[in-house]
Symmetry: C3
Subunit: 150 residues, 3 copies
């Protein structure tokens, strides 16, 4: 087995890249979660009675908060897939060049998607960033499948 | 360490199987996401004002689209767990036979679950397919636990 | 490569710990899913017409069931990230001591979060448990990043 297909920080630069981008995109998702909390506290808009200092009228809906939650849900639809596909893709032994650009494309697309969703930017900014992430995931999935068996 | 517990495409047929089924079920989930987008564009039913060509009246709700979204959410509740449990299960060194059937059962159950949800098929078709996926995940989790320590 | 950074049940106690806690927290999440199903059947509150024995009036909303669903969604926002960050963290070669406490803190925080959400306990019980999980994930992400490269 070539060193380049080991999941090793010391021996595999492609894995080292993957680990970095994977952590960065998870931290980005954590920022989205914190944004929801920050808006809920700042605007006093809550979803559970026990969060609302017992004031029923503060259990209500806010369009901006729902927007952040949709952004978060879109992250959940894409980022866990990337995290696992990326790891499997590392194990197919791609070149550092190909791997770098897959990871960069995905992670940049998700950072831009968050900006586009929360600003919000006019479409097709968000659609475009979303599609780059999806295409990157599909590309990695296909490369994994070409190394697999049924 | 036996070769059969390595995460290696070239040396471990069980891992090769896992990688294939994992990618396939992620691609299936991507199809569900595309189905949401296709229906939103086709029916002009949007969830953000910037998606709706600036027409407020197109920001609305559609029962069929909510159905696809529930199907997607159920995927999110089950597939990431499978992706990680499956990887850990590979590392317990199961037989090719046992692993094949675990992966096939899970992935077939999720494909069938999608068909049952989106058609929709009469119950208990969807419940049954959902339960097969959950039981497969529990089986893998238990086998991982039996190899673990606290 | 030191034995302690292998993903191996037989050779790496830190991996063995990770695998145990990862499986346990996935099983906990499965319990939350079952709780939703149990309440839906017990209270006859359904979200799809085909689940409701064809009775339209049983397709309705229940505050307690929505609460369980929010608890589940919060799991989805945190647990898949833990599963992947934990695996990458194992590969950084932490001490058994540090790893044990990271895994215990995260998994205990999620068990307690579920109890706090479903009881419900007065705040800040749920917020506190949520934050412990998030901080553990951030700590692991930072340690992975310190071993990574761009």
């Amino acid at each position: 087995m070539a060193a380049s297909t080991l999941l090793s920080f010391s021996d595999n630069p492609v894995f080292r890249l993957y680990a970095t981008y994977a952590s960065a995109v998870v931290l980005k998702m954590t920022f989205v979660a914190f944004q929801t909390g920050r808006l809920r506290m700042g605007r006093k808009v809550f979803i559970n009675l026990e969060d609302a200092f017992g004031k029923k009228e503060l259990v209500r809906r806010d369009d901006d908060i729902e927007r952040v939650r949709r952004c978060h849900l879109n992250d959940l639809e894409n980022i866990p897939s990337f995290l696992v596909l990326g790891l499997l893709y590392v194990l197919t032994g791609p070149s550092v060049f190909a791997a770098t650009w897959h990871f960069r494309a995905f992670v940049a697309s998700r950072f831009f998607h968050t900006v586009a969703y929360l600003t919000p930017l006019p479409q097709p900014a968000r659609l475009f960033s979303y599609m780059i992430g999806v295409v990157t995931n599909i590309s990695m999935a296909v490369q994994v499948l070409m190394n697999g068996q049924l």
